[in-house]
């Protein structure tokens, strides 16, 4: 299926769930956060789409005024077609349904995105940090992140771009 056909197939089924966003690239489709689990289930199980492989989950911080986003790269082994699903989250309470039980690889992908962006995947059975220590403060890949001053008594020196060591 071509990208156009995939998008049409999705909008036939979920007319109200697809959000029109002109900033997106051709291979991306934005979906409402609250409908994501139903759409994902359909994308996996529909015999014509058959997205049986989740290639990657990425978090994106679009800046202070913009939302946080989760991008899902989906691929079909059967038809060799791909699409990228985009979900936007409210910056103050980023939350979306977990697809960990649809694609099992989503388990670690979601934990990583949670670790770096603090996006909560509701329904994930083991949502812990995966790379940072459990008692880490803050979400490192957010634009407004500021590193903590000390970690277990180890002072983390702050380094400014122009002045060097503080």
């Amino acid at each position: 299926m071509t990208l156009e056909q995939i998008k049409n197939r999705l909008s036939d089924q979920f007319k109200s769930s697809i959000i029109k966003n002109e900033n997106l690239a051709e291979h991306q489709v934005e979906i409402k956060g609250e409908d994501w689990f139903d759409v994902a289930t359909f994308m996996k199980n529909d015999p014509k789409l058959s997205f049986d492989q989740l290639e990657c989950i990425t978090g994106i911080d679009t800046g202070e005024d913009g939302p946080l986003q989760t991008h899902y790269n989906l691929h079909s082994m059967e038809y060799r077609h791909k699409i990228e699903a985009v979900i936007s989250h409210d910056r103050k309470d980023p939350k979306v349904a977990s697809i960990e039980q649809l694609w099992r690889i989503g388990d670690w992908f979601e934990r990583e995105t949670y670790d770096m962006f603090g996006i909560e995947y509701t329904g994930h059975r083991d949502l812990r940090r995966i790379l940072c220590p459990d008692d880490w403060e803050g979400w490192p890949l957010r634009k407004d992140y500021e590193a903590q001053e000390s970690f277990h008594g180890i002072v983390v020196p702050k380094i400014k771009e122009e002045e060097g060591w503080e």
């Binding site: 940072c132 220590p133 490192p140 992140y145 590193a147 970690f151 277990h152 180890i154 002072v155 983390v156 020196p157 380094i159 771009e161």
Partner: protein, 163 residues
């Protein structure tokens, strides 16, 4: 050694116990085998057949209890820093630390934006020898090790220090 000179056969060497201890220790510092990043590859290359660390008496040990030298080979993240400290504390005295490469010495390429990287392993454990490089070649590491051996040799463990 005035009194003892020529009193024994030719194959007997007379020296102070301190010196013998220093010599024995300095020529067999077993190192703690663990790598944290790409420097570990160079450390492995130093131990492999071409450079062969065992010819200077160094041999990898997998337990901190059996090791004398800890080679911190690579980037120390804050998460790992706690473990490095714990491993150092588990080593038996006398113990030495070599900071290998710029990451372990100062944070290296992560010194500015690496929020998760410890800016120098000397913030956590005392370091005896710093080996610069990114990563240092085996020759550089071996020079560092020989420098460490020199230091160990000059130690006098049995002599009382003046207060």
């Amino acid at each position: 050694m005035g009194l003892l000179e020529n009193k024994f056969q030719d194959n007997v060497v007379v020296a102070s116990l301190d010196k013998i201890l220093g010599w024995a220790r300095s020529t067999s510092p077993w190192y703690f085998q663990f790598g944290l990043a790409c420097c570990a590859i160079e450390m492995m290359a130093s131990a492999a057949s071409r450079h062969d660390l065992e010819r200077i008496g160094m041999m990898p040990r997998s337990s901190p209890r059996q090791a004398d030298v800890m080679i911190v080979a690579g980037t120390v993240t804050l998460k790992m820093a706690l473990r490095v400290k714990k491993l150092y504390e588990q080593m038996a005295d006398p113990k030495y630390v070599i900071s290998m490469g710029s990451c372990a010495t100062s944070g290296g390429p992560y010194w500015q934006h690496g929020y998760h990287v410890l800016k120098g392993v000397d913030l956590v454990v005392p370091v005896d020898v710093y080996v610069p490089g990114c990563p240092p070649r085996p020759e550089a590491l071996i020079e560092g090790l020989l420098k460490l051996q020199e230091t160990i040799q000059t130690e006098r463990p049995l002599t009382r220090k003046l207060a």
